[in-house]
């Protein structure tokens, strides 16, 4: 299981990103976060887990355990994978109530750099957030 959502929280990511004063450091950090996210095995990269975007693909696996939701995610693109880590930092290991209550719009806008990334419909990020929220609503 990844450290996102437990050891690395959404607040940590907002704090760290606010230190960087150039785009190169921010993007390097995002790409590094993605590298920390364990890759999904080929079996999990299936049609059911696929969240379709027109530019890159995202796979999301969820599991409910002890009243909490656990997510694993992967993408074929590095920067998107880093963004998935950012999203999992907010949602992984939380109760369905916490997932539902989380202000994801506020989070994205606090992550200033990600503003335009998060609204790009092509990268599948919005669709993944929606799927996480739907999972919480169903549990």
């Amino acid at each position: 299981m990844s450290r996102f959502g437990t050891e690395i929280t959404s607040d940590d990511i907002v704090d760290t990103l606010s230190f960087f004063d150039n785009w190169e450091d921010r993007y390097k950090y995002i790409i590094d976060l993605g590298k920390e996210l364990p890759p999904l095995n080929d079996e999990s990269r299936n049609e059911t887990n696929l969240v379709r975007g027109c530019q890159s693909q995202v796979w999301l696996v969820s599991e409910a355990r002890d009243g909490k939701l656990f997510f694993e995610a992967d993408s074929d693109a590095f920067i998107v994978k880093g963004l998935l880590a950012v999203v999992l930092a907010a949602y992984n290991g939380k109760t369905p109530e916490q997932v539902t209550a989380f202000d994801v719009e506020g989070y994205f806008s606090a992550l200033n750099l990600l503003k335009h990334l998060s609204v790009t419909r092509g990268n599948g990020l919005r669709a993944m957030v929606k799927r996480i929220q739907d999972t919480a609503a169903a549990n």
């Binding site: 785009w23 190169e24 993007y27 390097k28 790409i31 027109c54 530019q55 890159s56 693909q57 074929d76 693109a77 590095f78 920067i79 998107v80 990334l117 092509g122 990268n123």
Partner: protein, 413 residues
């Protein structure tokens, strides 16, 4: 460079001055706009024509009994005449205003298709068509029991003309094909395609969206039955397109949408329809857009078009030469006859990542499958990075692209 002599005749720097949007910084860098296959930028003359229309002539066309309506109608119909001349249509009533290329194809698929297709009929589209030249045909085919089949495309991204010829029989009723591939820039042999289709009595619809902004198109020489394109890829406004059709076909086709303007007389006993082109133009049209397109055509025709085309070809040659000299770049779509589109992959990097890192450096490109999923699947790639050039791009823009690619590689590979 050997191609420099070609560019000497066309002054791209001077032309750039006509495009206000090009002179800005993006993410702290001067903008390099290489997404012209998605949409072209607008010269000041087009923007001004739209402003002038709203400030001086705004009125509904064709029916007002006053001076403004007369002026608006004159400019609106004047633009239709310009478009007819621009693509060498025999008469202006063959020019139908649409919302864009996509609507033009939908109009033909829906109107012509519903009246003419029947069970077992075949519709052929190239394997590298934009989704907008696949899906409308699939919908009408499903409704009528017809089938949509793909014309093979080879590894260079060129249509296999012999394979196409062998697919033809008298069940083929429509051949729909791009003039230029949006994903690769391949110029398709549409004149041959139309001639071969005619041999079995099939009609042809040519999607000219990626062609009209690059060189003169002559619909009579192509001898296609329908030709569609969008104003916004021809330096005009978004939301407007053109459908050209052979007169007899357009006359015979039933209306597409209905409402005002497209009728001759309406009663509850029955309604009769207006003549061409109004039969297909229900509702108040995009008058400002049409006038903007007229200005765009004036602008383009005021350029040295031959020089512009040579300049674009030289830019592509220079970009491809640099790509080949750069390790790790793989060109996708290497047909002999291309417009100025360079589709490529940076080995080991996802196109989307490359695009985001280029954007941070002020370089605008398109990444992804370019709404052409079937051909990307055939090539076994998730998509490409696409740099597409227009006549206002320069060698300096190409240099900036490769500088930015070098930096992107440091992040990703």
């Amino acid at each position: 460079m050997s191609n420099q002599s070609n560019t000497a005749t066309f002054d791209a720097e001077r032309v750039r001055a006509d495009f206000p949007i090009l002179h800005q910084d993006v993410n702290g860098h001067p903008l390099v706009y290489l997404d012209n296959a998605a949409t072209t930028q607008k010269p000041r003359a087009v923007i001004q024509a739209i402003v002038d229309y709203y400030e001086q002539d705004n009125s509904n066309v064709h029916r007002g009994a006053h001076a403004l309506a007369d002026r608006a109608t004159e400019k609106f119909e004047g633009a239709r005449v310009k478009v007819a001349g621009f693509i060498n249509a025999a008469e202006p009533r063959q020019i139908i205003w649409t919302r864009g290329t996509t609507e033009g194809i939908n109009l033909v698929a829906s109107s012509w298709g519903r009246a003419n297709l029947s069970s077992g009929d075949r519709i052929l589209v190239s394997a590298m068509e934009h989704h907008s030249n696949i899906v409308p045909w699939q919908l009408i085919a499903a409704e009528k029991g017809a089938v949509v089949e793909s014309i093979p495309v080879n590894a260079e991204g060129a249509i296999d003309l012999a394979a196409f010829e062998s697919m033809l029989d008298d069940r083929v009723k429509m051949v729909a094909c791009g003039h230029v591939s949006n994903a690769f820039g391949t110029v398709n042999p549409v004149q041959d395609i139309a001639r071969l289709a005619q041999g079995v009595g099939a009609l042809t619809l040519i999607d000219g969206a990626q062609a009209v902004g690059h060189w003169p198109v002559d619909v009579q020489a192509l001898d296609c039955d329908f030709y569609v394109f969008s104003a916004h890829k021809l330096f005009g406004p978004t939301g407007l397109g053109v459908l050209y059709g052979k007169t007899a076909l357009l006359e015979a086709m039933p209306p597409y949408q209905s409402g005002g303007e497209m009728i001759e007389s309406v009663s509850f006993d029955g309604t009769t329809f207006n003549q061409l082109p109004y039969k297909f133009e229900a509702g108040t049209p995009d008058i400002a857009g049409v006038i903007g397109l007229g200005a765009a055509i004036d602008y383009v025709q005021g350029l040295d078009r031959d020089g512009a085309a040579k300049h674009e070809a030289a830019l592509l040659a220079y970009a491809e030469e640099r790509a080949k000299a750069t390790p790790g770049i793989r060109l996708v779509g290497t047909a002999a006859n291309k417009t100025s589109v360079m589709s490529f992959l940076l080995e080991g990097a996802h196109p989307n990542d490359v695009g985001l890192l280029l954007d941070q450096q002020g370089v605008a490109v398109r990444t992804g499958n370019h709404c052409a999923q079937p051909i990307m699947e055939q090539f076994g790639i998730p998509g490409t990075v696409r740099a597409s050039f227009s006549f206002y791009n320069t060698r300096a823009d190409v240099d900036r692209l490769f500088e930015a690619l070098d930096k992107a590689r440091q992040f990703l590979v």
